[in-house]
C-alpha cells in the first residue's frame, strides 16, 4: 500500500455563518488523478483553495506527505511551492512575458539558478506547444493558450500535487480540447492531480477515481467506471441524470 500524497480528514470550512464544507474526507495517492465533480457552488473551488492554504479551515486536518498542514510551525509559502494550483480565470501576470510568467516562481520563490530555470521553461513551453510565443504577453494569447501557460507556470515549480480549479470553464468550447489534451498528457506521465471539472467525458477517460461534492458533502468517491456506470448514491444518480451521458 503506497502512502498517500494528500489526505483530507473531515475538513470543515465556513464563510461567516455559511458552512461550505461539511466534513470532507478524501485521499490522493502518488501518481493518482482524482476528478472532483459537483454543481457550481458545491464547494469544489473552496476545497482546492483550502488544500493550497489560500483559505483557513475551521476543523479537520489536511495531511500532505504525512505532515499536517495545520501545524503552526509549517511555512505556508514552502507548502505552496509543493502544491501547485491552476485557476479558472488563468490569473497570469499581465506585465510579464509568457517566459517570465513561467520562470517567476522558480527564480523568486525557489531561488534557483537562472540558466537551469530557463532551460526548463523552454522545455515546458515545448510541451505545451507554445515555444514560439515565449516573448509574447498574456493578452496576446487566446484563452486556451493562456490556460496552458498557467498550467506550465504551476508545473515549473515541480509541485508534488497539482490542483486544477475548473480550468476549462472560462474557455470558448473550441479551446477546451487543447487544455484537456495537455491534462491527459500530464496524467499519463504520472502527475498527481486533483481536478475540479465539469467535463464528464474527460473525468471518465482520465481520472482514476471520481468524487462528487454536493452542497459541501462528499457523497460518493469511486473508480471512474464504477462512478459513471454503477453509481451507488441517490445524489450521484440524480447528478448524472442532469449532465450529458458519457461512454
Amino acid at each position: 500500500m503506497t502512502k498517500n500524497m494528500l489526505e483530507l480528514q473531515n475538513v470543515h470550512k465556513r464563510f461567516d455563518d455559511r458552512e461550505v464544507l461539511h466534513g470532507v474526507s478524501l485521499t490522493l495517492a502518488p501518481n493518482e488523478v482524482v476528478c472532483l465533480l459537483g454543481s457550481s457552488g458545491s464547494g469544489k473551488s473552496t476545497l482546492l483553495r483550502c488544500i493550497n492554504l489560500l483559505e483557513r479551515i475551521e476543523s479537520g486536518d489536511i495531511i500532505f506527505r504525512e505532515q499536517s498542514l495545520l501545524d503552526e510551525r509549517i511555512d505556508v509559502d514552502l507548502v505552496r511551492r509543493h502544491i501547485g494550483i491552476v485557476f479558472q480565470a488563468f490569473n497570469l501576470f499581465p506585465h510579464l512575458s509568457v517566459l517570465d510568467n513561467i520562470t517567476l516562481g522558480p527564480l523568486r520563490a525557489r531561488g534557483r539558478a537562472k540558466s537551469e530555470v530557463l532551460d526548463e521553461a523552454y522545455e515546458l513551453l515545448e510541451r505545451i506547444g507554445l515555444k514560439s510565443r515565449a516573448g509574447d504577453f498574456p493578452d496576446q494569447l487566446s484563452g486556451g493558450q493562456q490556460q496552458r501557460v498557467a498550467i506550465a507556470r504551476a508545473l515549473a515549480m515541480r509541485p508534488d500535487v497539482l490542483l486544477l480549479d475548473e480550468v476549462t470553464s472560462a474557455l470558448d468550447p473550441t479551446l477546451v480540447g487543447e487544455v484537456l489534451d495537455l491534462l491527459t498528457d500530464l496524467a499519463r506521465q504520472g502527475t498527481t492531480m486533483l481536478i475540479a471539472t465539469h467535463e464528464m467525458q474527460f473525468a471518465r477517460d482520465v481520472a482514476h477515481r471520481v468524487a462528487l461534492l454536493d452542497e459541501g458533502r462528499l457523497v460518493e468517491v469511486a473508480p471512474a467506471a464504477d462512478f459513471f456506470d454503477r453509481p451507488q448514491q441517490a445524489a450521484t444518480i440524480d447528478f448524472l441524470s442532469r449532465v450529458p451521458k458519457t461512454q
Binding site: N52, L104, R108, A154
Partner: protein, 258 residues
C-alpha cells in the same frame, strides 16, 4: 482665439501700452534673463537652474518616500500597526496644510531650534525638505490607489506559487501598480515643478525671486514674463507627455475590452 482676444486687449486697452512696456519689453526681458552683477541683479536663467535642481532632487525623494508610505499603509502585518497609523496621520496632515505654511514652518522652525547640524543647513535644504514632506503625502495616495487597483487574484496567483509577501509586492503588485499610476504621478510632478517657485519665500534666489529683484530695481515686470516662459518650457513637454501616456493607456484598455 483666446490668444487673439488677449493680444487685442493688450493692444487696445487704455492702459495697454503701459502694460506692454511693463511686461513685454524685449530689452528689459533680456536684461533680466542674463542678469547684471554690477547692479546686483541675479540672472533669471541662473535662478531657474535652482528650480530645476530642486525639482529633480525632490522628485526622486518623493518617489521613494511616497512609495514607502503607501506600502506601509497597505501592509497587513500586525507589527507594522503603529507605523501604519503614523502613515495615515502623515498623509492627512501634509495634504491638509498649504504648502507655503509647511515651507515657513520647516524653513524658519528647524534653524530656530538650535539642533546642531540640523539647524545649520542652507534654506535650499529646508525648502527641499518641505516640498518632499508635502508631495510625498500626495504621491503616497497616488501609489495607494494604484496598488489597490491591482486585482486580488494577482496576489492570490503569486502567493499560490509560493512567493512570499515581499516578493509578491516587488515582482507582481508594484510593477502593475506603478504602470497604472504613471499619468497621475506626472501630474503631481508638474505641480511640483511649479511649486518650486514658492521657495523664493525662504529667500532663495530662484527664477521667481530673481524676477522679483529685477522688478523692484528697474520698475519693470518683464522678468516675471521671462520666468513664466521658462516654467512653461519645462511644464509643457511634461504635460504633453502625460496626455500621451493617458491616451495610450486608454486605447490599450479599450483594445483589451474589444
Amino acid at each position: 482665439m483666446v490668444l487673439a482676444v488677449v493680444a487685442w486687449v493688450l493692444w487696445a486697452a487704455p492702459g495697454g501700452k503701459a502694460v506692454r512696456e511693463f511686461f513685454l519689453s524685449p530689452t528689459h526681458a533680456w536684461r533680466s534673463f542674463i542678469g547684471d552683477p554690477a547692479e546686483g541683479l541675479s540672472a533669471i536663467w541662473r535662478g531657474f537652474l535652482t528650480n530645476i535642481w530642486m525639482f529633480v532632487v525632490c522628485e526622486i525623494l518623493v518617489l521613494v518616500f511616497g512609495l514607502l508610505i503607501a506600502v506601509v499603509r497597505l501592509s497587513s502585518s500586525p507589527i507594522l500597526t503603529p507605523l501604519r497609523l503614523l502613515s495615515v496621520v502623515y498623509t492627512d496632515f501634509f495634504r491638509g496644510i498649504p504648502i507655503i505654511l509647511v515651507l515657513f514652518i520647516v524653513g524658519y522652525g528647524l534653524p530656530g531650534m538650535s539642533l546642531g547640524w540640523i539647524s545649520m543647513q542652507s534654506p535650499a535644504v529646508y525648502a527641499c525638505i518641505a516640498l518632499t514632506l508635502t508631495y510625498s503625502a500626495y504621491v503616497a495616495e497616488v501609489y495607494r490607489a494604484g496598488i489597490n487597483a491591482v486585482p486580488t487574484n494577482q496576489v492570490v496567483a503569486s502567493r499560490a506559487l509560493g512567493l512570499r509577501q515581499g516578493a509578491t509586492l516587488r515582482y507582481v503588485v508594484l510593477p502593475q501598480a506603478i504602470r497604472n499610476v504613471i499619468p497621475p504621478l506626472l501630474n503631481d510632478f508638474i505641480s511640483l515643478q511649479k511649486d518650486t517657485a514658492l521657495v523664493s519665500t525662504l529667500g532663495i534666489v530662484d527664477a521667481t525671486q530673481a524676477a522679483h529683484i529685477f522688478s523692484s530695481q528697474s520698475f519693470n515686470f518683464a522678468g516675471y514674463t521671462v520666468a513664466s516662459l521658462l516654467f512653461l518650457l519645462l511644464t509643457i513637454p511634461m504635460t504633453r507627455l502625460t496626455d500621451r501616456l493617458i491616451a495610450r493607456d486608454r486605447s490599450r484598455r479599450l483594445a483589451y475590452l474589444s
